[in-house]
Each structure stands twice: as structure tokens, then as C-alpha cells.
């Protein structure tokens, strides 16, 4: 047991010294998001050099906006991944959220806040459905949420055509409450000469909240535990089922925020949107250092992943390249970040 302890007569003293020596560097190397931060700096420098307009403040707010719309969803997806599960229905759930809100308000000719509320209940219900089905059947979340993904995709298209006769919803811009809902979900804030979308605030707030939950609450401890070793977590009394259902409800909540942003910034919603976005969220989480097998990762990492995504997608435009190259960059980034993360983690463990 004392194999690692020094044989010194004053163990307390030597130990403290040893801690001071190794700790700061190892702490830094041990952070899950380190790899992605290095990647973000590299991408930033790269586009600063190749695209002249990239460093302007207006470009920066555009990049942040692109990052925030993705980042809002990357947060709960990262938490879910730390908890050891996937959600392939997250992308279309955002569209479902917008559609439900719009159609409920339009059909009832009610205040749009009615639609907004019903939409929240609907997305949370989908989260509960995913979570309960997963924990009851013990099937892989990949299969369960692939099922919900397909079902929601079908429902989105089917219901929209059934109700409005076209593939998109009707305008609700003249209805009561539209302005106040728009202020909450899709407004523009001007600070000095920079104008920022409100989604950026939502994004930062969600990242802060998720970080708090992960690192400073019991629920956060349980998220790491159910992802790292679910049977062990159950054996010491962690409510594994409740934790997983809670994580899926988190995805539902953020899909609601994201969907309301879509609705109130564009007024009409295309029912076929959202397919494929679920993978983007997962990519952001993985670039941010989440272990695909669960039990390791951070919310801040997912934000850095989303930021890399925003810089790349807009940077290519500012560099006046063909946007077709974007996917190639994203793929390369994913591979590099994953390799870097794996390497960093090994180094961090080797120093111990």
C-alpha cells in the first residue's frame, strides 16, 4: 500500500511538496477539453491567416452565432454521452419542437406562449419516452433513438402536410405574444458596436449550468458514474434509471430552446429540417473530449467543439472557398481531436 509513499520520517511534508511539483501540469493535461482548446487555437490562427475578414468583430459575432445554435444542443448531448448513451433523435426533435409550437398556436389561434408551453411538454415527453424505453428494454440507445429519430422524422412531415397542406408551417408573426417570445428566443443584442444573437447567451448559460451540474452536484457525480460503470453505480445505490431519464429530458429541454429559436427567428418552419444535425452535436461533444464509451468529458469541451465548428463553417466562407470543403475539414478535425484527446489522456495517466 505504501509502495508509492516515500519512506521519509515526515511523510506529510514530503507529500505536500510532491503534490506542488506534479499537480498543476497534470491537472491541466488531465482536463478533458485540453485537446479541443489546442485545436480551437490552431483553427483560429489558420483562418486568421487565410481569410482577411475573419478577424473583424462582425465576423466574430457571426461565428459565435453559428457556434451557439449548435452549441445549445451539444451541451445536453455531451452530458448524455458522459452518461454512456447517445441520442440520434436530437436533431429532428429540434424541428418537432418548432413545429409543435407553431401549429398549436396557429390551430388554436391562441397566444404563441400556449404553443411554446405545449412544445416544452412535448419535447420533455420525447426525452422521457427515450429514457424509459432504454432503461426498461436495456437495448442499446443507438437502436432506441434510431427508432425515435425515424418516427419523429415521419411525424414531422406527415402532420405538417396533414394540417397545413404543405411542407412548411403558416406564419404566426401577427399573433399575440410573438414579439415577447421572439425577444426571449431570437432577439439581437447590441453591445458597443457588436451585435450578438440572444442564442449566444442561452448557450453560455447552458454551458455554465451543465458545468455546475457535472462538477458540483450529486446528479453530476451520478452522470459520470452511470457512464463509467453502471453496475458499480447501481451497487452503491446510485439511481441509474432516474439519472438516464433525466439526461434524455435535458436533451428534450435544449431541443425546445433550439426549436423555439428556429421558429421565432424565421417565423415559418420547414418540416424536413434537422435530419443529420444529431451527428453534428455528437461530433462537437467528441471533439470537446467526451469519451464515446462514456464516463469522461465536459460541457466546456462541447462548447469548444461547437466553437471550432462555427469557426470552420464561417471561416471557409470568409476565405471565399467553396463551402463543399467544410465537411472535409470537419472530418479531419474530428479525427485529429480524437487522436489528440486519446494521446493527452494516456500522457496524463502515465504521469501518475
Amino acid at each position: 500500500m505504501s509502495a508509492t509513499a516515500p519512506p521519509a520520517a515526515t511523510p506529510q511534508k514530503t507529500e505536500d511538496e510532491r503534490l506542488l511539483h506534479t499537480s498543476p501540469l497534470r491537472r491541466l493535461l488531465g482536463r478533458p477539453e485540453l485537446g479541443s482548446v489546442v485545436g480551437a487555437v490552431a483553427v483560429f490562427i489558420f483562418f486568421s491567416v487565410v481569410a482577411d475578414s475573419f478577424l473583424q468583430t462582425s465576423s466574430f459575432s457571426t461565428v459565435l452565432y453559428a457556434a451557439s445554435t449548435l452549441g445549445i444542443m451539444a451541451v445536453p448531448v455531451a452530458l448524455l454521452m458522459i452518461g454512456g448513451e447517445f441520442d440520434l433523435s436530437a436533431g429532428v426533435l429540434v424541428t418537432t419542437s418548432a413545429l409543435v409550437s407553431s401549429m398549436v398556436s396557429y390551430q388554436l389561434t391562441a397566444n404563441v406562449w400556449v404553443g411554446v408551453t405545449v412544445s416544452l411538454l412535448a419535447t420533455l415527453a420525447v426525452g422521457v419516452f427515450n429514457g424509459v424505453l432504454l432503461t426498461r428494454t436495456k437495448l442499446p440507445s443507438f437502436i432506441i433513438t434510431l427508432g425515435t429519430f425515424l418516427m419523429l422524422t415521419g411525424l414531422n412531415l406527415g402532420f405538417t402536410k396533414l394540417i397545413s397542406g404543405t411542407v412548411s408551417t403558416k406564419s404566426i408573426a401577427d399573433m399575440d405574444g410573438f414579439e415577447s417570445a421572439k425577444a426571449l428566443f431570437a432577439s439581437q443584442l447590441t453591445i458597443g458596436d457588436v451585435s450578438l444573437k440572444v442564442t449566444i447567451l442561452w448557450w453560455f448559460a447552458l454551458v455554465a449550468l451543465a458545468t455546475w451540474i457535472l462538477l458540483r452536484t450529486r446528479f453530476g457525480n451520478w452522470i459520470f458514474a452511470v457512464g463509467g460503470n453502471a453496475p458499480a453505480a447501481r451497487a452503491v445505490g446510485v439511481p441509474v434509471v432516474r439519472t438516464k431519464i433525466g439526461l434524455y429530458m435535458g436533451v428534450g429541454f435544449c431541443a425546445w430552446v433550439s426549436g423555439q429559436h428556429l421558429l421565432f427567428s424565421f417565423d415559418v418552419v420547414q418540416s424536413g429540417e434537422g435530419v443529420g444535425n444529431e451527428l453534428t452535436y455528437i461530433i462537437a461533444a467528441v471533439i470537446g473530449g467526451c469519451l464515446i464509451t462514456g464516463g469522461y468529458g465536459s460541457a466546456i469541451g462541447s462548447a469548444v467543439g461547437a466553437f471550432i465548428f462555427g469557426m470552420t463553417s464561417k471561416g471557409i466562407v470568409y476565405a471565399e472557398w467553396n463551402p463543399d470543403w467544410f465537411k472535409f475539414f470537419l472530418g479531419a478535425m474530428l479525427l485529429l481531436a480524437t487522436l489528440l484527446n486519446a494521446w493527452v489522456r494516456k500522457r496524463a495517466e502515465a504521469t501518475k
Binding site: M1, S2, A3, T4, A5, P11, E15, R18, L19, T22, S23, R27, W212, R216, T217, R218, G220, N221, F224, A225, G228, N229, P231, A232, A233, R234, A235, V236, G237, V238, P239, L291, G295, Y296, E349, K352
Partner: protein, 262 residues
Amino acid sequence: MTTTAVSAPLVELTDVSKYYGNIRALEGVSLAVDAGQITCVLGDNGAGKSTLIKIIAGLHQHDAGAFRIEGEDTRLANPREALDRGIATVYQDLAVVPLMPVWRNFFLGSEPTKGAGPFKRLDVATMRETTRAELLRMGIDLRDVDQPIGTLSGGERQCVAIARAVYFGAKVLVLDEPTAALGVKQSGVVLKYVAAARDAGLGVVLITHNPHHAYLVGDRFVLLKRGAMTASHTKDSVSLDELTRQMAGGSELDDLRHELER
């Protein structure tokens, strides 16, 4: 088995059986644990030792027989219930989350909090300090309670699990082969903590396939073989040689000796 205690044993199993589908994992096993005593369960691989303790720990339910906690007939629904009734189990597979820091593992499932409402948060300082102090009491001088528990040695991990069970005020401590994967010195350390837990008044169920370890600390011995109980002894009714002989198969061992003799 002679029960001299006036009060009911902390944990008592009578004629307990357990089936996994058509596999008979346990058949008619009885055992009792008193406060301040160590009951050892001995048996070869596959004898049903882990199955037995999983019933006590609330991971499985028995199919026949009686399971009493302090005299009260019980059927535990899950491990949480067992913990709440004062039964702490240290599993063979250790039940730790390897990537999580030692201090988070130590308190997993029973985290202390401070503050109220939305500001209710983990009492991180207390968690760190307690972990360090409790492990130090067991003689484990960790460099850093923040290191992932997966980077500790097997013996250290075992001691963390025991320290944890003792700290949370268990009345019964159940250990599944705590010395199986350890060297001689580390086994000694673990056995010392088992004895320390007994001296602190806990009832201990120690599972092992090493009769030497069992005889060092045990007060009662239950022998399992292919799911059935073949013998039950108190310490003064059996010698180490006899225990070893029975454990190794008794007459089978004599046969083996004859076969191997030249």
C-alpha cells in the same frame, strides 16, 4: 451451528436456494452473522459464493428459504435498500468507477451536500478531506485523492472500498474474495482491516477460497460446494488442517494423493 447469542443474529440465512433459470446456483444454504464476529464462506470457483453474497447485498433475491435481518424476514429489492438497512458490500469486481477520482468514488451514491434549493451542492472540501483522512487511517497515503481510482493498485482499491463501508456506518460488512488478487503482504493488510472492522463491532461475512486466510480471522466457517452447503463449523470445533482438507475436497484429496503417489 450453535447459537448462544440471546438476540437474533444481524443477518441470518436459513435453507436459502437460488436458481438462475435452470441452473441451481445455491441449494439449502444456512449462515448467521453476529455483531463483532467474522463468518467465513469457503468454496471453490463456481461454488456459489458470489451468488450467496449478492442475495445479502440486494442484487438478487432468493428463491427459497428465509433471509432475516435482525430477526426480521426480509427480501431486499435493490442494493440501496441493503445499504439503508446497514449492509455494505465490497464486491469481487470492486464496484468502483475507474475513471472517477478517488474522492468521488468514496462518496458515490451517498454524497454530502451543503447549501439549499438551487444552490445545493457537493461539499467538495469535506469529501476530499474525509477521503484522505479515512484512507490515511487505513495506512493508505495517497499522493492525490484526485487521481482516478483505476490508477490505484488492487489492494489500495480494496482498502478504499472497505474504508468506505466502515465510514458509512455499516452494521454488516460483506467482502467477496478481497484477497484473491493480492500479494501476501497486501492480503495481510486487507485482513488487518477486516479484523479492525470486527473490533469496531461490525458483523463481517468474508468470502474466500483460501482456508489459511479464513482461519486467521474467522469465528465461523461455512463450506460451499457446487451450490450446496457441505459443512458449517465454529472456530473451536475445527482445526486449520481439517478445514483445509474439507475445503480441498476431503476424501477426494485422499484419492488424489493415492493417484499421485509413486
